[in-house]
């Protein structure tokens, strides 16, 4: 059972991304109004906007939080061909009282010649690193060697994907057995049916990222891509938002069988494909244990997918708007009965509905 509350967002244009921080107590939104807003959750559970500022000179496509080990750091990317890194400055006590905080720009990454479509921080065990992807088909990986100095970022890798890129996902697995891995999706709609999902892996010997796999079966434009958090599995799970929702497993083939020194080869299997949205799927995202996948699509719904203990994936929930106007006051909740029966007749049968006797 879910409970929904609403917060007045106050962006002056479409919101393109919403992102919780690591602990779920802060969130960031970015919009075509070129600004980013940061919201904080108070002890009582209410959300307040604590910062709102212009970040780019074009629509801001994505905003993402760094791991809190690096402090309070955000990255944003935009149609204006740049990505930027922001850090929160501990403000004057006056500001604290008013509940405002300040964010300053630490660096602007200007290497792209086209709209930057996604920006994602790497898993924390790799240090302070982020990747961007652009419509010019290049994935760029930057690193800040000194975590206390966020104005120094160096471009470490440029990976050419040959197709306009729309999304990237780092493999969050922090096992020593896996080299860093990044998946890139493309929404290129040109007619040559090139596979739209590529996976790159870092090679310790060459110190470069090399293409490890291409998902040949994904030929429609890809809008979002997400590796699942790894609970100690030996294989990886990747979710893709394209004309439907697809979930792939990638099992590393044993190193002895591949040419030593080359990228890992993977056995790729598709374990689920859902077209319930009946339309383009735009966003996929995993919960923190990687046990539930959420997707949203053109049908205006958010769907939740879960594997049971037999590893079969099924839809376990749908969030959709009912089109009714929301009540004026924000922070309002609609509650559902607790412990709830999804099927209210559980109560009825106890009351002996068949015989019509009322329970005392």
């Amino acid at each position: 059972m879910f409970v929904a509350r609403s917060i007045a967002a106050d962006h002056k244009d479409l919101i393109h991304d919403v992102s919780f921080d690591f602990h779920g107590r802060r969130m960031a939104t970015c919009s075509s109004d070129q600004s980013v807003k940061v919201w904080d959750k108070s002890e009582s559970g209410d959300w307040h906007c604590t910062a709102s500022w212009k970040t780019h000179s074009g629509s801001v496509w994505r905003v993402t939080w760094a791991h809190p080990e690096f402090g309070q750091v955000l990255a944003s990317c935009s149609f204006d061909r740049t990505a930027a890194v922001w850090e929160e400055i501990v403000g004057e006590s006056n500001d604290k009282l008013r509940g405002q905080s300040h964010w300053v720009k630490r660096t602007t990454l200007v290497d792209s010649r086209t709209s930057v479509t996604d920006v994602k921080f790497a898993p924390k065990h790799m240090g302070l690193m982020l990747a961007t992807c652009s419509a010019d088909g290049i994935v760029r990986i930057y690193e800040a060697p000194d975590v206390m100095n966020l104005s120094q970022w160096s471009l470490q890798h440029e990976i050419s994907c040959k197709l306009s890129c729309s999304c990237i996902s780092w493999n969050p697995s922090s096992s020593r057995a896996h080299s860093p891995m990044i998946a890139v999706g493309s929404d290129d709609s040109s007619p040559n049916a090139m596979a739209k999902v590529q996976i790159f892996e870092y090679n310790e010997n060459t110190r470069k990222y090399a293409k490890a796999e291409t998902l040949m079966t994904v030929t429609d434009p890809v809008h979002d891509i997400a590796f699942a958090p790894n609970l100690g599995r030996s294989f990886h799970i990747l979710a893709i938002a394209t004309k439907d929702v697809r979930i792939f497993t990638l099992k590393p083939v044993r190193k002895e069988l591949t040419s030593s020194g080359g990228p890992t080869k993977f056995e790729i299997h598709i374990v689920a494909q859902f077209d319930n949205h009946n339309s383009q799927v735009w966003r996929v995202s995993w919960n923190i244990t990687g046990t539930v996948l959420a997707s949203s699509g053109d049908d205006g719904c958010v769907r939740l997918w879960k594997a049971n203990y037999m590893d079969n994936w099924k839809c376990t929930g749908i969030l959709k708007g009912n089109g009714s106007p929301v009540n004026g006051s924000s922070q309002q909740g609609t509650s559902n009965p607790s412990l709830g029966s999804t099927i209210p007749s559980l109560q009825n049968s106890l009351n002996g509905s068949s015989a019509g006797r009322k329970h005392s």
């Binding site: 059972m1 879910f2 409970v3 929904a4 609403s6 967002a9 919101i15 393109h16 919403v18 690591f22 602990h23 779920g24 939104t29 075509s32 109004d33 919201w39 809190p68 080990e69 402090g71 501990v90 809008h223 609970l231 100690g232 735009w282 995993w286 923190i288 949203s296 053109d298 205006g300 719904c301 958010v302 939740l304 049971n308 203990y309 079969n312 929930g317 749908i318 969030l319 959709k320 708007g321 009912n322 089109g323 009714s324 929301v326 609609t334 009965p337 607790s338 412990l339 709830g340 999804t342 099927i343 007749s345 559980l346 049968s349 002996g352 509905s353 068949s354 015989a355 006797r357 329970h359």
Partner: protein, 611 residues
């Protein structure tokens, strides 16, 4: 068949028009963010109205109810007790322990029910009252199901007492009208009934019982045949009932509130010594007869039927679908697993199912600001994925207060989750540094055993000292103890502070030696040497000679070392020149002091004692 079927639950979000807009979302640890948008990424959208709202979706609101919290807390205690039951126990003693656990769970459910019932009655708002009442119903259903499972699966009542247990079960859960009907049915032939039901503590064997019952049954039949009671249709139908005639029983349908009441009554009169394995036949037919094709079975009916058929997996599956909270199925399945009932089934998902359900339940608890602590223990008893799930969840707990942080850290340390400890301490250390609380940052770095960060914070301390001439957080630095060894810089910080303390206590000789050793042992960073040498000045200028000749030579060596390596500045930067001037003056002063001290030291050491 093994899958959790059922339609996905649809949650409506008021205010979002799914026909017009799509939704973006993000997961949080306990909540989910959703906002309306449109997915067409054009540079400038048409005059789409601004996005008015963001929605926060939270799962499992039930976890937050005050009364249910008690249920979760108390069942947690029972769960732990169950896990710790000695595995060595077998046979009767084990069974009685397991039955006791089951009864404990049920009493907790009943207590919760009772409390909620009180709240329902006292509720001022009728809608609220109804909500609570419906919760009471659900709890009641849960207790009903659990009780039946206890009788059939855990108690495993043999043929004779089985019906007694079922009778109790029905009496307990069906409404009071039942007792009325029992009276009506029983009052007609009290003597026969009393003598027959003198069972508890009896010395009769099952066969004797059965014989007796047969005898009595035949007697009743004879009465019917002989039309002994033909004059009174009421008594005749009563007789038929006592013979277990289904039609006669069904005529009294209004008195039987549901089919399982019918079932038990029927068994009472037609087959009181029914064996467990024969139960399912009676159950299915009772359900069908009772419903009479007018209505279809409800979820509860299916659950109970599955239980009568001893299909444990079906029971669990149906319960999982019918109840939105994992509490019930998780605890029940865990208990049945301890009764070794799940293993005898398909091994493939026998123990996996228990763990699957416990993981679901525990994950749900982590969404709650205080119940997460219960979740920790549940994860502990999930051998496959418990630890890694706990690692993922515990990192996400917001560390709003120091107390909470310490609690979380203690839990991680107890389980040797070193990476989580390091990460959490690092997060707190970073937060402290950014807020300029260096002492706090230092203590978190030490706890994280993060040498690099400790070095960083120590550097900040030293920089602060250089700028302000005094230390902050003296207490912390003074009491570092063995933690000082974490990083060289930290060791230096500690020792340097010690030097100041010694100087303050006028232990000049000790202070001098320490100061010298800091430089010669290379613990002091070069950037700090000038400061150290400057610190030596007052010691050099004291009336008595503190530094020995040997030590003075060392100091001179250090000074020369420092000055010889200084870079030559090419540009004529006035400020740089001024700095250089200051530096040069300092160096000159030091040379002078050192020379003077050397002279005095040599004289003193060369002189005879006492002269």
């Amino acid at each position: 068949m093994e899958e959790l079927d059922g339609e996905p639950t649809v949650t409506l979000i008021p205010g979002v028009n799914s026909k017009k807009n799509q939704m973006y979302f993000d997961w949080g640890p306990g909540e989910m963010l959703v906002c309306e948008t449109s997915f067409n990424k054009k540079e400038k959208s048409e005059m789409v109205p601004s996005c008015p709202f963001i929605y926060i979706i939270r799962k499992d609101v039930d976890v937050y109810s005050q009364i249910l919290r008690k249920l979760f807390n108390e069942s947690h205690g029972i769960f732990l007790g169950l896990q710790r039951i000695d595995e060595e126990l077998t046979g009767k003693s084990r069974k009685s322990q397991l039955v006791r656990v089951s009864k404990n769970y049920r009493s907790v459910i009943r207590a919760c029910m009772e409390e909620m019932h009180q709240v329902a009655i006292a509720a001022k708002d009728p809608a609220n009252g109804r909500q609570f009442s419906s919760q009471v119903s659900i709890l009641s259903a849960m207790e009903l199901i659990w009780n039946l499972c206890e009788i059939l699966f855990i108690e495993v009542a043999p043929a004779g007492p089985l019906l007694l247990h079922l009778l109790d079960w029905v009496r307990l859960h069906v409404c009071e009208v039942d007792s009325l009907s029992a009276d009506v049915l029983g009052s007609e032939n009290p003597s026969k009934h009393d003598s027959f039901w003198n069972l508890p503590g009896n010395t009769q064997t099952l066969t004797e019982l059965e014989l007796k019952w047969q005898h009595w049954h035949e007697e009743c039949e004879r009465y019917l045949q002989d039309s002994t009671f033909a004059t009174s249709p009421h008594l005749e139908s009563l007789l038929k009932i006592m013979l277990g005639d289904e039609a006669a029983l069904l005529e009294q349908k209004e008195l039987l509130s549901n089919w399982y009441h019918f079932l038990v009554t029927r068994l009472l009169y037609s087959n009181p010594t029914v064996k467990p394995i024969d139960l399912h036949y009676y159950a299915q037919s009772s359900l069908d007869l009772f419903l009479g094709g007018e209505s279809s079975p409800e979820p509860l009916d299916n659950i109970l039927l599955a239980a009568f058929e001893f299909d444990i997996h079906q029971v669990i599956k149906e319960c999982s679908i019918a109840l939105s909270n994992w509490w019930f199925v998780a605890h029940l399945t865990d208990l049945l697993d301890h009764c070794k009932l799940l293993q005898s089934h398909n091994l493939y998902f026998g123990s996996n199912m228990r763990e699957f359900l416990l993981l679901e339940y525990a994950s749900g608890l982590f969404a709650h600001p205080s119940l997460w602590q219960l979740g920790v223990d549940y994860f502990d008893y999930c051998p496959e994925l418990g630890r890694v799930s706990l690692e993922l969840h515990i990192e996400r707990i917001p560390l709003n207060t120091e107390q909470k942080a310490l609690k979380v850290l203690r839990i991680c340390e107890q389980r040797q989750m070193t990476e989580q400890v390091r990460s959490i301490c690092k997060i707190l250390a970073m937060k402290a540094v950014r807020n300029n609380r260096l002492g706090s940052a230092l203590s978190w770095s030490i706890r994280a055993k993060d040498a690099a960060f400790a070095t960083l914070v120590s550097d900040r301390f030293l920089r602060d000292y250089c700028e302000r001439g005094c230390f902050s957080d003296l207490d912390l630095i003074d009491n570092l103890g063995p933690a000082m060894m974490l990083s060289d810089r930290l060791t230096f910080l500690g020792k340097y502070r010690e030097f100041h303390r010694m100087y303050g206590e006028k232990r000049f000789a000790d202070a001098a030696s320490l100061l010298l050793s800091l430089m010669t042992s290379r613990i002091a960073p070069r950037s700090f040497w000038m400061t150290l040498l400057t610190d030596a000045l007052p010691l050099l200028e004291q009336k008595q000679v503190i530094f020995s000749a040997e030590q003075t030579y060392e100091l001179m060596r250090c000074l020369e070392d420092l000055t010889s390596r200084r870079p030559v500045h090419g540009e004529s930067d006035t400020e740089q020149l001024q700095d250089d001037d200051i530096e040069t003056t300092k160096v000159e002063m030091l040379r002078l002091s050192l020379a003077r001290n050397l002279a005095r030291a040599i004289i003193r050491e060369g002189s005879l004692e006492g002269s």
